[in-house]
C-alpha cells in the first residue's frame, strides 16, 4: 500500500514519517515512534487504554488514522511527566495505589488529565463519569478515584499561583 508522509509533533518533538493511510494513530505511536506507553486494549474504542492528547484534547488514538493528525501536537504518557518531574496525576496514581497491572494506567492518566483540565475540582461523581470511557479490570476504580482526587488537590494551588501570576 502506498505510503504518505506525515509530520507530527509528539511530546514536543517533530518528526516526519511515511505511513500507510490506514495506520491508526496508536499503531503509529507504538510502532513507528516506539512510544509503547500508549496501549491497545480493544478493537471497538471502548477501553480507553490508548488515550492520548491531540492538540490538548483527550482522544482514543485507536479511533484516528495517523494521517488525520498531520501537523498536530500529540502528547502521550511519556510526555506528560517523567521520573523526578512527575505530573500530579502520575504522583497521585503512585501515592494512592491507582495502578495494579499498569496496563490501563497510561490511558487512565491521560483521560483524567483532560478531566482536570476542564473540571479542576471534580466531585467523586464527576470523576466517575469523566473516566467511564476507560476500563480498569484490577482496581475496581476505588484507588483511581482517590488518585485523581489527590492530583486535583495538588494541582489546584499550582493553578491558582499560575492564575495569580497571569493577573
Amino acid at each position: 500500500m502506498a505510503k504518505v508522509p506525515i509530520t507530527l509533533t509528539v511530546n514536543g518533538q517533530t518528526t516526519t514519517k511515511d505511513v500507510e493511510p490506514r495506520t491508526l494513530l496508536v499503531h503509529h505511536l507504538r510502532e513507528a515512534l516506539y512510544l509503547t506507553g500508549t496501549h491497545v486494549g480493544c478493537d471497538t474504542s471502548q477501553c480507553g487504554a490508548c488515550t492520548v492528547h491531540v492538540d490538548g484534547e483527550a482522544v482514543k488514538s485507536c479511533t484516528m488514522f495517523a494521517v488525520q493528525v498531520g501537523g498536530s501536537s500529540v502528547t502521550t504518557i511519556e510526555g506528560i511527566g517523567e521520573i523526578g518531574h512527575l505530573h500530579p496525576l502520575q504522583q497521585g496514581f503512585w501515592e494512592m495505589h491507582g495502578a495494579q497491572c499498569g496496563y490501563c494506567t497510561p490511558g487512565m492518566i491521560m483521560s483524567a488529565a483532560d478531566l482536570l483540565q476542564h473540571t479542576p475540582n471534580p466531585s467523586e461523581d464527576q470523576i466517575r463519569h469523566g473516566l467511564e470511557g476507560n476500563f480498569c479490570r484490577c482496581t475496581g476504580y476505588h484507588n483511581i478515584i482517590r488518585a485523581v482526587q489527590h492530583a486535583a488537590q495538588h494541582m489546584s494551588p499550582q493553578r491558582e499561583l499560575a492564575q495569580a501570576a497571569d493577573d
Binding site: G37, T44, W94, H97, G102, Y103, T105, T139, I145
Partner: protein
Amino acid sequence: MTEKYFGKAMKRVEDPRFITGAGNYTDDISVLGMVHAAMVRSPYAHATIKSIDSSAALALPGVLAVLVGKDLVDAGINPIPTGWLLPDLKISAHHAIQPHEVNHVGDIVAVVIAESRAIAEDAVAIVEVEYEALECVVLGSAALAEGAVQVHPEAPGNLAFDWAIGDAAAVDAEFAKADRIVKLQLRNHRLVPNAIETRASLAEYRRAGDEYTLHTTSQNPHIHRVMLGAFIMGIPEHKLRIVSPDVGGGFGSKIFQYPEEVICLFAAKRLNKPVKWTARRSEAFISDAQGRDHETVAEAAVMNDGTLLALRVDTIANMGAYLTTFAPAVPTYLYGTLLNGTYKWKAIHAHVRGAYTNTVGVDAYRGAGRPEATYVVERMVSTVALELGLDPVDVRRKNFIQPSEFPYQTPVALVYDSGNYEPALDMALEKLGYKDLRAKQAEMRKAGKYIGIGVSTYVEACGLAPSALVGQLGAQAGQWESALIRVAASGKVEVLTGSHSHGQGHETAFAQVVADELQIPVEDIAIVHGDTARLPHGWGSYGSRSAPVGVSAIKMAANKINDKAKRIAAHLLEAAPEDVVHENGVFHVAGVPEASKSFFDVSLMAHLAHNYPADLEPGLEATHFYDPKNFVYPFGTHLAVVEVDGATGKTKLIRYVCVDDCGPIINPLIVEGQVHGGVAQGMGQALLENAVYDESGNMTSGTYMDYAMPRADDMVQLEIGHTVTPSPHNPLGLKGIGESGTISSTAAVANAVIDALAPFNVRHLDMPFTPEKVWRAMHSAKLAEAADD
C-alpha cells in the same frame, strides 16, 4: 532499630514504570527481522474442514506462509494436554491448529505469517476454508440431554466426567429428619475474564544451538515450558526459555497453555524468523478460557429454628469444547470441597457432571470454583432465612463453626486450619449500621423505594496446595514454590521467585518481607520473576498462592541466608556462631554490640573468602522449595446494599462493606487493592457481565460494546475492614487475598437484589440482574393480571 517493613503501606516500587508508560508488556517488545502471525478462526461452532485454499493469501505481497493443522501434525507436534486428570476423564485431542474438525467459533484452522500485522490480517480474510457445518450444542444441560448432538466421539453423551463428593446416605438421613427442605435452582452464568492486556506471544528461534525463546503473557512461565517443551513440541526444556515480562492482568486467563504459543514457536522455526502474535479483543472473546457456567439444583435440609442440617447439590458444569489446562479441577476439587462454607452442616453431597459443548473452553477465572460454591451456599442460606422469616444474619451466626472447633473437618474433604467468623461479621454489621439500615429499608418500602441488603459470610480455600495431595487428586503438576536469594558482594540482594506478578505488587510486598528478614533497607532488594532462564522452577501465581506459598519459600530461603551470614560474622568476630545475634541490622556477640559486622561486611567476605571459616562454602546464596502443608482459609463478611428503581428496573450498588481475614497483612495498600478489584469483578457478574452464545454458538456479547464490564460509575467507594487470624501452618501465618473479593461479592450483591425485591414476592432470580429482568420481576403480578384480562 532497623525500620520494620511488614505491615507498612509502602508505595509500590514497580509503579514508576507503569505511571510513566515505561512498562514492558509482550506486545511492546520488537526484535529485528520480526514477522507477524494472524489466525484464521472458524466462524462455525461445529464443522468439518473440507479444504483450505491459501493460494490467494500466499499471492498477497508480504505474505510469507500459511500453515495448517496438517503441517503441525506432520512435524510431530502433539495436541495440547489437560493438566488435571479425573478418574475416567474423557479427553478429546485439542490441536493448536485443528486439522479436521472445529468445535467452537474461534477454533484455529490456519495461521498466516506476513511481514506486517496488517498484511497478515488482510490475508486471513482471503484464506478460503470450505466447511461442512454440523449441528452444535451450547448449553451444558442440553449437551447432556438424550439425543444431543455429539461434540466429540471420545465422550459419549458429551459427558467429560461424572464426579461426586460427600456421603449421600448421610445426607438422605438428615433430609428425613428435617422440618423443611429448601430448594433452589441456580444458573451461575458464563463470564469472560477480560484482562485489559490481551494475550500475546513473541517466539524466537536460533538455528545455531536449536534454541527457542518465547516472550508471552503468562502467569506461570515454567508451566508453559513443561507443557510446550516436554509434552507438545518435543523441545528439550533447557533449549526453551519462557519470559513473561510485565503482564497486564491475568485473573486466571493467562495460566493456561493456549494454541497460539505453539503456533508462534512452530512458525519461528519453520521460517527461521521471530514471530509475533497479539490478540485482538474480538479474538480474546472467542479464544481466552472463560469462567463459571454452572447449572445447579441445590436442596437444603433445615430445622424451623434455622439450624442447617444437610446440603445436596447437583451441578452441570459446561466445560466448553476442550478441557484446558486445569479445567477438570475447577468444578470438582475447587468447587465441591467448598460447599460447606462457614457452617456446621452435618452432611453434604455434591454431584458434578462436566459437559462438552461447542463453546470456548471454561477454566479457572478469579476464584475458580470457589465463587460458584459460595454462590450456592450463600444464596441457599439467605433463601432459608427468607423462607423461615428469619434474619439472614441470625441464621448465619447460629450455624457458624466456632473458633474452638478448628481444625475443622468438613463433610467435603477439607480440613479448615483456622477461623473466627463472628468478629468479622460483627465488624461488618457495625460499619454498615445494619440494624438502622434495616429500619430505614422498611420505611423506604412504605414510600415505594426499594433497597436491599445482601449478606455473604464466606470462607475460601487457597494457597494451592500440598503437592502429594494435589497429585492424588489428579494434578499433573506440583504445587510447591521456589525462592532463590542471591546476595551480591556489595550486600545488594536479588530474590528470584517462582511466583509471578501480573498486577499484585510482588516487587514491593515480597521485598518488604525480605528487608525485615535480612534487616537491610528495602531499596537494596530486587524481586525477579517471570523468566525461566533466571529462576529455579516455579509454579507461578493463581489460586491466591503467592503470599502463602511463594512468600513462605522466600522466608525459608532468608532463614538459610541468615544462618550462613551468622557463621561468617562469627568467624569475623572470632566468636562461636551460637553466641552471635543479628539485630538492628548488624551481627554482634550477644551483650557486646560495640563490635559488630554489617550485612555488607558479611556479604563482601562471603565473596572474597579471604578470612573465612574453613568448613564453609564461599558465596551467599540460598534456595528453598516450599511445599505447603495445607490450603489456607481466608474468610470474612461482605455486605452489599443496592437500590432498584421501580420505574426502570435498574439496580445500583449504593454501599459495599467488607471485612476480610487474610491473616497478617504485608502491605495494606496492596491487600485493599486486591479486595477492591475482586469485589468489582464479583459485582460485575451479579449486575452486568454475561457471556452470551446464540443457538448457533456465536458469542453475541463478543465485544466491549456488548459485554458489560463494570465502569467507574458502576462502582462505589468500598468500606473495608480486616480481622487477623494467622494460618497456623506456614512460617509467617500468611493467607491469600487475591480472590476473596470475587468469591464473596457475587453472592452478597445477588442476595441484596433479592432482598430488595422481597416486597414483590421474588424468591430467586438468576444473574445478571439486568434492568429488564428486574423490572419484569417487580411487575410480574401486574403483568400476570394484564395477561388474564
